[in-house]
C-alpha cells in the first residue's frame, strides 16, 4: 500500500510543488496567468540573466503549469489556469476533512448538553 497506482498523480504533484517552491517562479507564474508574455519580456523584470529566467520558465513548463509557443524569434509563455487550480485543490480537500472533524466535535459537544438535560 506504500505506492498506490496513483503514482503518476503523485509525480505530477511533486513537480507542481517543486515548481512553486521558488519565489521567482511563482512571480513568473502570476504574470503569465494574467496574460501571455514573451520570455525576453519576463527576463527584463528580474535581476538575473536571460538564461536563468529561461530555466525557471522551463521548470514551470515541465510541471505543466505553463505552456510555450513560438512566434517568430519569440517564445511566448502563458499560464495553465486549470493546473494551478489543482494544486490548491489538494489543500482544499484536506480542509474538507478537517471541517468534518470539527463538525463531529461540535456534534459531540451538543450531545453532552442534551444528555445533561435528560
Amino acid at each position: 500500500m506504500t505506492h498506490p497506482e496513483g503514482s503518476e498523480a503523485e509525480d505530477r504533484a511533486d513537480a507542481w510543488f517543486h515548481a512553486l517552491a521558488d519565489r521567482t517562479r511563482r512571480d513568473i507564474l502570476r504574470r503569465v496567468l494574467a496574460g501571455e508574455h514573451s520570455v525576453s519580456t519576463l527576463a527584463k523584470s528580474y535581476d538575473m540573466s536571460f538564461a536563468a529566467v529561461q530555466k525557471h520558465v522551463a521548470v514551470l513548463e515541465r510541471a505543466g503549469l505553463l505552456t510555450k509557443r513560438r512566434q517568430g524569434r519569440e517564445a511566448l509563455a502563458s499560464g495553465d489556469v486549470e493546473a494551478v487550480r489543482s494544486v490548491g485543490v489538494m489543500l482544499t480537500d484536506l480542509e474538507a476533512l478537517w471541517r468534518g472533524r470539527i463538525s463531529r466535535m461540535d456534534e459531540l459537544f451538543a450531545t453532552d448538553t442534551t444528555t445533561e438535560k435528560d
Binding site: G6, E10, L33, L94, L108
Partner: protein
C-alpha cells in the same frame, strides 16, 4: 458550523483552521485526552478510526488505524512533542508500515500544532498542519479519507491576489 477561519499557505504547505466551539476549554481538551472520544471525531463517516495506543505526554505515541469500507486498514501514528493541558499540544504524524506501527521511512511526517483557549464563554481552537512535501499531502488524500465536496476555493485567486 463552528469554523471561523481557514488559511491555506501554498508556499509552506500549511493549513490553518480556526474553530469556535460552544463548549468549555476542558471539554475540548477531553476529546484529545480520551481515545474513545477521539475515535468518534477522527475518522470520517465510513472510515472509523481505532486508537490502539494513546499516550498524551512528550515523546508519547498515539497509534491508530482507520478501516475503509472495503475492510482495508490504514496504519498511522502521532508522536507527541509538547503538551500544555488544556491549552493544546503539538505532534508529528506519519504513516506506519503495518500493525506494528513502525514508521514508514518512505513517507515524510507532518507537524501539527493544536491550540485551545477560552473565548466568549466557549473555546477557540486553532489547528495548524504543516506538510513536509506534496507527497505527504497527496498520501493523506489518497488514504480515501477525503470527505465532503471540494469547496470552490481556488488557490489561484490567492496567487493572483498576492
Amino acid at each position: 458550523m463552528p469554523v471561523t477561519d481557514v488559511q491555506h499557505d501554498l508556499d509552506a504547505l500549511t493549513l490553518t483552521i480556526t474553530a469556535d466551539f460552544a463548549a468549555p476549554l476542558d471539554r475540548v481538551w477531553q476529546v484529545y485526552a480520551d481515545p474513545r472520544q477521539l475515535e468518534r471525531v477522527w475518522g470520517p463517516p465510513g472510515y472509523p478510526a481505532t486508537f490502539v495506543d494513546h499516550e498524551m505526554a512528550p515523546g508519547g505515541r498515539m497509534n491508530y488505524f482507520m478501516t475503509s469500507p472495503e475492510g482495508e486498514n490504514y496504519y498511522a501514528y502521532w508522536v507527541i512533542t509538547t503538551v500544555d493541558e488544556p491549552g493544546g499540544f503539538t505532534f508529528e504524524d506519519g504513516f506506519a508500515l503495518d500493525e506494528t506501527f513502525a514508521p514508514n521511512p518512505e513517507m515524510p511526517v507532518a507537524s501539527n500544532d493544536y491550540a485551545f483557549a477560552e473565548a466568549d464563554g466557549g473555546t477557540r481552537a486553532t489547528f495548524v498542519g504543516t506538510y513536509a512535501s506534496a507527497e505527504a499531502l497527496q498520501k493523506v488524500l489518497d488514504m480515501g479519507v477525503v470527505e465532503g465536496s471540494t469547496l470552490a476555493i481556488n488557490q489561484i485567486d490567492d496567487l493572483l491576489a498576492s
